[in-house]
Symmetry: C2
Subunit: 170 residues, 2 copies
């Protein structure tokens, strides 16, 4: 946080107190209403609650750096399939950190900031945004961890316009 | 999706068209305003945009099954540290799938539904909710991938009350 700011976590905690004080959604089920799983980036600008208009209870939302189909996602998505999910939207976005930083830049930074040799680690950067979506959709479709009746489509979200564009249809 | 519903993805796409039509946040930066990173579950009921009152641009949000500190999270969180994050909130929740399903149950399901032997895979279930938070906070704090000046705290979110309770202070 900027050194001159008040503690942001304290303000989040206060916001939760206000939310809980008016909460009326305690009957929502573990199984989401639509069964759709959204995989997107952890970037603060890219929040599907807003850009897809999703209230609580509507869809499973997974977010990591880039919205990449990682080993972890493939493993843990099975639990979501157990809860009935048969539809996935993979959503990458413009101006993403994974498009700005190369593995070499990240390796240099871990060595300088952590004293950590991460040269054997792939941080999953990409150079072509549409292709990164196509690659991840293909990885999901061909994974033995994903049921054959799961439909997957891919999109790019533009942080300048707020608009999501389809790259790969189901 | 339930077989009698209309396509939920089509309605999400329409919601995005409405969002983009009124969008006025195109100047937000890649670096989030608070630098806080939130790690929580992909459960549809557990959305920090709502329960912490976070508008776009406010905080990095990572979500996976359970909100667990996985190898992937530890790897990809470094990119968020490159963008200035020095504060993490780990938030697990009541009525989580990872508290309902054991590894044995999940292994049986992958064999029955996918023909996949996942017996060597840990799907990260837990039996004690508060302890799962403490374990994940400890894992983050001791990881060589995390800068020593990163502060981590842990919480439980109650899906019945909408209230978040601190388990581990920074």
């Amino acid at each position: 946080m900027p050194p001159d700011s008040t503690d942001p976590v304290a303000s989040f905690v206060r916001a939760n107190e206000a939310y809980a004080g008016k909460f009326a959604k305690g009957d929502l089920a573990m199984r989401s209403k639509t069964g759709v799983t959204i995989l997107t980036c952890g970037d603060s600008r890219v929040d599907p609650a807003y850009f897809l208009g999703l209230p609580e209870g509507e869809a499973y939302i997974f977010r990591n750096a880039g919205g990449r189909v990682t080993d972890d996602f493939l493993r843990l998505f099975f639990i979501t399939q157990m809860l009935g999910s048969r539809r996935v939207m993979v959503i990458h976005h413009t101006d993403c950190g994974l498009n700005r930083f190369s593995n070499q830049v990240i390796h240099d930074r871990t060595r300088n900031e952590l004293g950590l040799d991460s040269s054997g680690t792939d941080f999953l950067p990409y150079t072509d945004l549409d292709q990164s979506v196509r690659d991840d959709v293909a990885r999901l479709r061909s994974s033995p961890s994903v049921r054959k009746d799961v439909l997957v489509s891919g999109y790019v979200y533009d942080v300048k316009s707020g608009r999501m564009t389809e790259v790969t249809s189901p």
